[in-house]
């Protein structure tokens, strides 16, 4: 049975804004770290070793080489950790817990570099250098448009050289991009109702054939609501506006950036279909 999610099928912007807001909800990294420490303690480290051995992953050699795996500790959680790795590929999840223990020698950077697994909206393992520093939660996320403006393509997925900021705390959807810009964020003006109104105006402009006006409205919207609940909807509309204005290359580029940053977003199928249509012209 295939049923579309309401977030992508509803025509009500208010409902969509509410549903989208759920994506940023979650425990703080500190809470997860605390819980993991309380529940598993050093056993987690043993769990990593056991998991690696069980899965036959390259982690085994790294864990052994790092000497971080404690030996002889009763591994309370070991079966679960091993199961998590075998059944759901949650090795990064486990390693993240370890990585957050700044007082323990761990192998997080190597692991996150070799296994770019991102749990759904979850917390990613920061490189060791960042482990003892607070996550850059307040940085304004770089938008697709800004990414597109750069001459050097930048992978939106976090890597060892681009510390991930996708903490469980807000901001939600846009936080999928790494905080690449240190410029101060513009003053946030983010009323949901204002944002919906702005989105409607941009849609109407595009529907009546005024693609340039739509783009200008979307630019203003981005400035006014940099972390808005409809920011991804606005990016999709921007792609449509560029395509409608004849700037096909720009539209294709933005589509690819969108799909790379948000492959599982409810808008992704639509963007893929637009991309296919534009590429086949």
């Amino acid at each position: 049975m295939t049923v579309q999610r309401l977030v992508s099928s509803t025509s009500d912007d208010f409902e969509r804004a509410l549903l989208r807001s759920a994506r940023g909800e979650g425990p703080s990294p500190q809470a997860v770290r605390k819980a993991a420490a309380a529940l598993t303690g050093a056993a987690v480290l043993t769990g990593v070793g056991a998991a690696a051995a069980a899965s036959g992953a390259s982690l085994a050699s790294k864990a052994a080489a790092s000497g971080a795996v404690t030996k002889g500790i009763v591994a309370l959680m070991t079966p679960w950790v091993a199961a998590g790795v075998v059944t759901s590929g949650a090795v990064i999840g486990v390693v993240t817990v370890v990585a957050h223990r700044a007082d323990v020698e761990v192998l997080a950077p190597e692991v996150s570099a070799s296994a770019p697994y991102r749990p759904r909206g979850g917390v990613l393992a920061p490189p060791r250098a960042a482990a003892s520093q607070p996550a850059p939660e307040s940085s304004a996320p770089e938008t697709i448009e800004e990414l597109a403006a750069r001459s050097v393509p930048i992978a939106p997925q976090p890597s060892a050289s681009a510390p991930a900021s996708a903490s469980a705390a807000p901001p939600p959807a846009p936080s999928a991009s790494a905080p690449l810009s240190s410029a101060p964020a513009p003053e946030v003006r983010s009323s949901v109702t204002d944002e919906i109104r702005a989105m409607d105006q941009a849609r109407e402009a595009l529907a009546s054939g005024k693609s340039q006006e739509a783009l200008a409205l979307l630019d203003r919207m981005r400035h006014d609501f940099p972390r808005g609940a409809l920011s991804l909807d606005a990016e999709v509309l921007r792609i449509e506006a560029y395509a409608a204005s004849g700037r096909r290359v720009r539209a294709i580029y933005l589509s690819e950036q969108f799909l790379q940053a948000h492959p599982n977003d409810p808008h992704a199928p639509r963007v893929r279909s637009m991309l296919a249509a534009m590429s086949n012209r």
Binding site: F14, W80, G84, V188, S191, V192, T193
Partner: protein
């Protein structure tokens, strides 16, 4: 395992009405209880087990909140009271508070299926397995849940608009 499931359990408890200030404690309780039953949990069945424990803990937290002056409801009204005018700033966090308010207006069965499908993005078949009910029942509950969600969303939206005019 703790990390990979912690967020899921925490979010589920949140959608099911556990007050925010108790979420970390209740989530830890879920894992602690599960850790006491480790020998009974089959490999690959960790999530269904945690899910069952989380449902019971959520029900118990809701009962406690109700017994001690409806903490959940007070939290709603606090959030509602702090809502700005519609034309003032409203951050994502406040949108989430509205979502939370909408969810709490739904019936328990609807809220659970809605949270699992719409917010956690599980598949219908996964939900059927978790709840041990037929796929068709999940589908009908989801339809009803969406109706309730839309109704509650309209109510909350009207309240926010009204509050905006009052100020």
């Amino acid at each position: 395992m703790v990390h990979s499931h912690y967020r899921l359990v925490w979010r589920l408890l949140r959608w099911l009405g556990v007050p925010r200030n108790e979420l970390d404690d209740v989530t830890q309780d879920v894992f602690w209880l599960a850790s006491q039953r480790m020998d009974q949990i089959r490999l690959g069945s960790e999530w269904p087990y945690l899910f069952g424990v989380a449902l019971r803990k959520a029900a118990s937290a809701r009962r406690a909140a109700s017994a001690y002056g409806s903490i959940v409801d007070l939290e709603h009204y606090d959030a509602a009271a702090s809502l700005p005018l519609p034309d003032q700033q409203m951050e994502q966090g406040q949108a989430r508070e509205l979502l939370y308010e909408v969810l709490q207006g739904m019936s328990e069965d609807s809220r659970l299926v809605f949270a699992l499908f719409e917010l956690e993005e599980l598949e219908i078949t996964e939900i059927a397995r978790l709840l041990e009910i037929p796929v068709g029942t999940v589908g009908s509950r989801l339809r009803r849940a969406r109706e309730e969600f839309s109704r509650e969303a309209r109510r909350v939206r009207a309240r926010v608009a009204f509050q905006g005019r009052e100020r």
